[in-house]
Amino acid sequence: MASMAPKQDASRKRGPRRTRRRWITPDMTALVDIALLLLMFFIVSTSFNSPVVMEMTVPEGEKPVPLSQVVSVVIQPDGLLKCSYAEKTVYLMPGHIAGLVAEATALIKDVPVIAVDAGSNVRYGLVVDVLDELMLAGVDSRFVRKNTVVLNNIAGLSY
């Protein structure tokens, strides 16, 4: 640094030069135009709805469940749900599963096992809708078996 000092002094002595001191203003218009164009492109092309997942589990073996514990929900191809539990059968429209779960939990003394049974000609979308509703109703672990989805309410494996 010290060696630089005399050089600086020498330049000072030449006197101030107006042209050097002037503020440099390059024309940024083109740059900003392109930047904004790219910005708009990226904003428009970004998709925010990335897919989400539902965790599923299939049982390794099979365990018998006492019939008194089972709430069977048969999804019919037309979307109607045939629900049998505690010796009665009701037909439900989709969207009323929360009520069914509440009633079954009250009626069945043991841990109710909700068995969702979808025939092979039922649309997959319907099955997912029913599973989704069951999860919203507080049914947690999902055990899927062949055409039967067994959903175990509250705790413990029962299938």
Binding site: T46, S50, P51, V52, E60, G125, V127, V128, M135, N147
Partner: protein, 171 residues
């Protein structure tokens, strides 16, 4: 005497903050942008995913095997499509199965017998680390999914994921 006209000057607006923010947003969107992968580019179908609202966990990207069940847009045939995200595992699996051509792409259309082999080979090649996801169209019949679940169960792949779209979209 004519008035001395003051020379008009075009008014200058300080654009610096605007440009600062624009660049900030630009860099943000550039870094978050996710471009279509090769697999997505090759596919000749659009999967209409079922909607779900209960679960919110995102689909992973690493060590994932995706079985897609989709309806072809041209001849409206339903078929299984298989893809593995991990390239090393993919190469090993493809080598192990003689029916798959050597120049097979990242995602291949398969029948259920090949799918059976693919699942067990993937399990072995990845030392049981790969997660499985079923990405099925909501219009297909459940038997496609049920058959696949039966294969998974046979090979003790008891955990997997159903890929869905979040209800109502959003972030």
């Amino acid at each position: 005497m004519p008035k001395i006209k003051k020379k008009r000057t075009g008014f200058v607006l300080d654009m610096t903050p605007l440009v600062d923010i624009a660049f900030l947003l630009l860099t943000f969107f550039m870094f978050t942008a996710k471009f279509k992968s090769d697999t997505e580019n090759e596919q000749k179908f659009v999967i209409e995913r079922p909607k779900s609202s209960a679960d919110t966990s995102k689909l992973g990207e690493k060590d994932l095997a995706i079985v897609k069940i989709a309806i072809d847009t041209v001849n409206s045939d339903t078929s299984y499509y298989y893809s593995i995200s991990n390239e090393d595992v993919r190469a090993q699996v493809y080598q192990a199965i003689p029916t798959i051509p050597a120049d097979a792409k990242a995602m291949i259309a398969v029948d259920s017998a090949t799918l059976d082999r693919l699942i067990i080979e993937t399990r072995l090649a990845s030392k049981y680390k790969v997660k499985f996801a079923i990405d099925a169209d909501k219009r297909i019949e459940f038997k496609w999914v049920a058959d696949l679940m039966e294969i998974m169960r046979k090979y003790k792949q008891t955990e997997f994921q159903f890929v869905t779209d979040k209800e109502g979209g959003g972030l």
